[in-house]
């Protein structure tokens, strides 16, 4: 751990963190471009770097894009990414009241506290989870993979079935190329270049970046009307003092909510922001009300989405299962560096892991500092027309996916998956389950083959359905599948109870 701390503080590592933070802050501030998409585009450019430096760059991008997405949310009522959705509820009303600077300072502080809380959770919770993961066999990993895929499928799509369908499509895509055992060509159509399959990073670029570019082409309406924003002396100090005295409970509660939601596969920062905002509004006793320009709303959303973003790395680094779409891309980056996430990573490359973990904490601080220095530029960037962004993204998609292995199959695969995920989005299949399927495919297959080999010696039921940890994951998988129906039923019941109570009052 100490070695990781020292490496993360070395000048070269901090320089790459700063580069990543700058890219992240630019991308996060541009509505339409998502953090996941920018991560996918950045990963090919980290191949040539030492793993520690590449991961520091990724940590910087991840941390700062989570802050910068609050800029358009506050200024033009359009969240830079889905994670800042709840930031708009109070951020934009504050701007309209002439307090935009106060809202941005609040968002910046929220980002810093969120990163710190998530980072500390990452440091503290990793070791126990690694020890648990060491006891996992093929069957446990198989069910863990299925659980992660089911949860993400259930939470990220409009329908559980459509989410699962997306996951299965991703798994099938991951099967392209030489088989996991024996090197048998699968779905290669006799093309030798396809033996290596579609590189996971090229697949992610297609699924997230190209798809997003196509969505932006389709969505021509862009709100470029920035509300009146002016900088005033003393606002920063006054806002920070107010946060220190009145928002401590809000920060702590939002950080815990964000961390818990971040650890759960599938939920991720957008849900963390909304849940935390809801809780903050429920606990609020002061003025103004939430939704009418209360700084607490901005802080609750930003603390939660930042802590969730960092905490989503916990299942990735310890169990090898990404907790969010962005974590899936980080997993792709680790694969590209020849590192396999999971308990083994902590045993074989602890310095790399801890450098990355500390990098995520420093990223919050860097983002906060950059936000203060670049606020004027960020405000102008919010209104950059889409056509410039789309052209840039497409160029980066092409260069990035071809640069990985100089294999035209990656380029074709990127196009096919980008177009495919765009079209699948039209029928309600979200990109995240597809990406998770692509990422988790080799892991689930490997675990499946190991478990089946064991099952040939004993029995399938014994191997897959009788081990305690497997049973836990099976129960969680079933719960994840039933959750949308359960929650809808519970909401109906509580609505009926409220109606009945209201009728009683009348």
């Amino acid at each position: 751990m100490l070695e990781g701390l020292i490496t993360s503080l070395s000048p070269i590592a901090l320089m790459f963190l700063l580069i990543g933070s700058l890219i992240g802050i630019v991308v996060g501030a541009l509505p339409g471009l998502t953090a996941t998409m920018s991560l996918a585009l950045l990963v090919p450019f980290t191949f040539g770097l030492e793993p520690e430096l590449g991961l520091m760059m990724i940590a910087g991008l991840l941390g700062s894009s989570m802050f910068a997405d609050a800029v358009p949310a506050v200024l033009i009522n359009t969240p830079g990414t889905a994670s800042a959705m709840a930031t708009t509820f109070d951020g934009y009303p504050l701007t309209r009241q002439g307090q935009g600077q106060r809202a941005l300072v609040g968002a910046s502080a929220g980002n810093l506290f969120g990163s710190l809380i998530g980072g500390v959770a990452l440091l503290l919770l990793s070791q126990p989870l690694v020890e648990l993961a060491l006891s996992f066999g093929g069957s446990e990993y198989f069910w863990l993979g299925v659980f992660a895929l089911t949860t993400i499928g259930a939470l990220s799509a409009k329908s559980v079935l459509l989410g699962l369908m997306g996951g299965a499509i991703g798994l099938l895509v991951s099967a392209i190329g030489a088989g996991a055992t024996g090197g048998v060509a699968r779905y290669t159509f006799g093309i030798p270049n396809m033996l290596g399959g579609i590189h996971v990073v090229a697949a992610l670029i297609g699924i997230f970046a190209l798809r997003q570019a196509l969505v932006m082409v389709e969505d021509r309406q862009q709100d470029t009307s920035v509300a009146t924003y002016r900088k005033e002396r003393g606002v920063v100090v006054e806002t920070l003092r107010s946060i220190a005295f009145t928002q401590r409970l809000n920060i702590g509660r939002s950080g815990v909510i964000g961390t818990i939601i971040g650890i759960l596969p599938g939920a991720g920062p957008p849900i963390a922001g909304l849940v935390s905002y809801n809780e903050a509004a429920r606990w609020n006793r002061g003025e103004p009300a939430y939704g009418e320009g209360n700084l607490g709303g901005v802080i609750a959303s930003e603390v939660a989405n930042n802590s969730a973003s960092t905490a989503s790395l916990i299942p990735l680094l310890t169990l090898g299962v990404p907790g969010s779409a962005a974590a899936a891309v980080v997993m792709g980056a680790l694969f590209a560096q020849g590192l396999t996430p999971g308990a083994g990573l902590y045993e074989q490359h602890p310095e790399v892991v801890y450098t990355f973990v500390f990098g995520t904490i420093w990223a919050g601080i860097t983002a906060c500092a950059l936000a203060g220095m670049l606020s004027g530029v960020l405000i102008r960037m919010v209104t950059i027309p889409y056509h410039y962004l789309i052209a840039t993204v497409l160029l980066l998609c092409l260069v990035g996916s071809f640069a990985i292995r100089n294999n035209p199959v990656d380029l074709i695969g990127m196009f096919a998956l980008g177009l495919g995920s765009y079209l699948l989005g039209k029928i309600g299949i979200a990109p995240a389950p597809i990406a998770l399927g692509v990422i988790l495919g080799p892991i689930i297959e490997d675990a499946y083959i190991k478990a089946i080999a064991l099952a040939d010696a004993t029995s399938v039921v014994e191997v897959f359905f009788t081990r305690p940890i497997s049973i836990v994951f099976i129960c969680l998988t079933v719960l994840a599948m039933l959750w949308p129906w359960l929650s809808a039923h519970l909401m109906k019941r509580s609505a009926a109870r409220i109606r009945a109570a209201a009728a009683g009052d009348d």
Partner: protein, 172 residues
Amino acid sequence: MDQTLRKVVAGLFSLVLGWAGVLAAGTWEDPVWRFPISVSVVLMLLGGVVLFRSVLGVARSRGRQQDSNAQEPVVEVADSSVDEPVWSDGALAHRRVALEVGVVVCAVSLAIVLMFSVGFLITALVLVALLAFFLSRDLEPRPVIGIVLFTVGLVGSVYLLFVELLNVNLPG
């Protein structure tokens, strides 16, 4: 795009992709192919379930629509104090659903029987002909398409189960 149509397309896509995944795969005995075959079968099943639910959804909404249409004159009858039977709420909807489910079950049974008697290819041709027939009759196309596509999916699944996984020789 209409929500139901979306789901029908998604189900169809899933069925076709899963089917293609199985057809392009090797044998189940080869461990390398077990994972892709399993995923393809799951994909087909999901597609089948999505299509089935879409069909049921459309049948229910049509039932409700007809139910409300049927109930309108009843109000007038009740006002004129004539003792006419009044449908209870949702009774027509349930009948409609039962009818649609019955059609699905019949279509599936027919497809399975056809498959075993005259062969898979001929069954597929019959299904395509049925689809063309229903479409040309200017009927409400969505439930019909759903039923036919669901049937195709189920036939595919059964075919897959018997021929690909259990190595049973079917005629045709």
